[in-house]
Amino acid sequence: MAKKTLNIVESAYRAVMEEQDDTILWLLAAMQGAGAQHSVVLRGNAVNYAVAGQGAPGLTIGAWKQTLAPRMDKDVLDLIEKRKIPVFVIEEDLAVRGIERGELVPGVQLLSSKMLPKRMAEYEIVLHW
């Protein structure tokens, strides 16, 4: 049985255009495929990953066009629905950014920052990205 790992993702939108995804969410999805048992907490600016309907146009430089620009909301949905990775979002970080619960993709779970230490205690490994 793999060790239960809680991943607190705070760094957000770092190189997502070049990588066409978030490198940490990608890493967790790939590790899950190898048998890892992950959960994700989005905090800080990373809570915005859970906002539905986001996306930036791909980069275009003359004849060169990016054809698969990142869609972070779809990547979060992929974690939840396809990988069965629980995704939590810190409520207070949503609130200070004016993001309503109804704006989030389905399946994300709200978590109060006050409850985070208790949640962390449920895991054998806690990683802060």
């Binding site: 939108y13 070049e18 995804d21 999805a29 495929g33 275009t60 430089i61 003359g62 004849a63 698969l68």
Partner: protein
């Protein structure tokens, strides 16, 4: 619109931040308007034009090589040079020599060259305006 000369310093390495996407959007806008652009790539940015960069498929995305069409900065550099030339401008893309030696990235895409901080000094002296996008 009259042709201007811009000097630009870049520092971020590929695949580490959004700074380069912003930089390439600005550079493309300059090239689209036919301006002359001098780019000095310093530290990690000296790998932007590294010729051995290769795209990859993405099993997590469920995409093969063609579907993923993974961006490489060497292709973006080449596209920038072509765009400038097409619109009557020119890009002088200089890779800091000591920086590429440190990183082993001394093989560049065509029409970019090895240089030194003296090149950036020259670029600044000749430029109508200078933009530095540093690592923060």
């Amino acid at each position: 619109m009259s042709q201007k000369t811009f000097a630009v310093a870049l520092m971020n390495p590929p695949y580490e931040s959004e700074n380069l996407t912003t930089a390439f959007r600005i550079l493309a806008a300059m090239a689209q308007r036919g301006h002359k652009i001098s780019v000095f790539t310093y530290e990690g940015a000296s790998a932007l034009a590294f010729a051995k960069q290769a795209p990859h498929p993405n099993p997590v995305h469920g995409k093969n090589l063609a579907e993923e069409n993974h961006p490489t900065t060497k292709d973006q550099v080449a596209a920038l040079l072509a765009l400038a030339a097409k619109n009557g401008g020119k890009v002088d893309w200089v890779n800091c020599g000591m920086c590429v030696d440190e990183r082993g990235v001394g093989e560049f895409v065509a029409d970019t060259r090895r240089g030194s901080p003296a090149d950036f000094h020259s670029f600044c002296e000749a430029a109508d305006n200078v933009l530095a996008i540093p690592v923060k």
